[in-house]
Symmetry: C2
DNA sequence: AAGTGGTCTAGACCACAAC
DNA sequence: TTGTGGTCTAGACCACTTG
């Protein structure tokens, strides 16, 4: 009955090998997603109301609703009753540091406040083979490499190396990394238009080498969490590789399984 | 307009301090949840169709649908188009070992197959203070304590201690733990009617003591992941405490952030 | 063919926020 | 008062499974 002019609703009567049936709301979701990644609406800004989107796509409000529901479930947009639907951002007070799961054993992370940052290094280099693979670049493509220490209450707790595609993050400086108030990912949104929407982490237990131990002011016999993270923008495009060493003597990595 | 005889839909005109407005579909969800925890439908069995539930609760099918949608999103039930909606179970082939996140660095966990289990101990003891707190018991209440080793391809990889409330798991034996084919949580469902629906983990890096190192056939200088898990049944009732030591020399703990 | 979940619609009304 | 998202309904039709 309804179908969007620029795309057909595949049906089960299609020829064999045709793409699987795609309901209207998923097509709508895809179109909204496209607008999001093309920056039609900036992080923090409101997207059109459900009625407006329904008119734009020539579908009922209920269908738009289901599409937006899924985007909200994936944390790509944020619904606020009475106000509208907004492009999610790492700058929000509520969900700040969504990706940092290292919590103090006792006490409240919100009371403690954000970490102090000390940037040790930030330079443009050629991607090594494994960095290139993680970021879906060619070997020897330009990347920005940064190293920093995060401290809580003066205690150096996280030592991390960050690799970013040189193209998208051209001009990133150590000062930017050090001085921006708020999550680093919020700065990425503001200054480079890159929004991280999800990430994957691989966690191991390791011992630090001498240099790492010095930075973290611990003995080389102190076991640490090694956390390798790949963060993705829209469309599963990898945009950051992070390798962190976490002290867990008075903090722990928290995870919820469901 | 509609309201379930046995419960009123609170409205904003209630007296101050009254419970917040609760939409119908959440009330329905609560009623279905109640039936789930009371065992009206067993794990793996079908729950009534949406039409039947709608008739039973005197609401429209759409309202039941939204309630069931949320239960499905929380992995409490599983929808299968054309067949029905089924109580989720850890025995399903598809989502087996949902809570085990230690994956091989290379290769496919499905190819590798399940771990070999060796049960070192399984006895009834009095709960220590911290175990009692984790399981919401009184100190010195009876608990079942088990210790086992999980090996992959003959390599001892996980050493874990498990504590279970003595009341709910009366009669659990080492043989049961060792011989059941499939996830331990599936055995809990089948033999004790206890279904784990979610869990929380605290992860640290630690060094093993001499005994632990021996069991895992490693040097005491090998860093390990310490994973403390509390698993919950319906209604957030804690039913298991697990303390695991994971070797991560050729495996890693994988986590998805979103 | 019958029954299940899945999609889509149109319309009514409610809760919340802003003007 | 207006506009937003949130709830609820009733009905039509589609896709999938089973007999």
């Amino acid at each position: 009955m309804h179908s969007i002019p620029t795309m057909s609703a595949a049906s089960s009567t299609d020829s064999p090998g045709a793409p699987a049936f795609s309901p209207l709301y998923l097509q709508i979701k895809g179109l909204i997603l496209q607008s999001l990644q093309q920056g039609e609406w900036k992080p923090g800004a409101a997207i059109p109301s459900e009625m407006e989107l329904a008119a734009r796509f020539r579908v009922s409000q209920g269908t738009v609703r289901k599409a937006v529901d899924e985007l909200a479930a994936e944390n790509l947009v944020l619904r606020r009753q009475g106000k509208g639907t907004f492009v999610a951002t790492h700058a929000e007070q509520q969900v700040q540091y969504r990706f940092l799961k290292l919590l103090p054993d006792t006490g409240d992370a919100r009371v403690e406040g954000p970490a102090q940052r000390r940037v040790l290094e930030c330079r443009r280099v050629r991607a090594s083979a494994d960095v290139a693979r993680a970021l879906a670049l060619r070997s020897a493509d330009a990347v920005i490499q940064a190293r920093r220490i995060l401290s809580f209450a003066g205690v150096p707790t996280i030592l991390e190396d960050i690799w970013l595609p040189g193209q998208a993050f051209k001009g990133l400086t150590a000062e930017q990394l050090a001085n921006y108030q708020g999550p680093t990912y919020a700065m990425f949104e503001l200054d480079f238009g890159v929004r991280m929407v999800r990430a994957e982490e691989k966690i191991r237990a390791v011992l630090p080498d001498r240099e790492q131990a010095q930075w973290l002011q611990i003995s080389p016999a102190t076991p640490l969490l090694s956390v390798e993270r790949i963060a993705y923008t829209y469309n599963d495009i990898p945009m950051e590789l992070r390798r962190g060493l976490y002290r867990t003597d008075s903090r722990h990595y928290r995870n919820a399984l469901s």
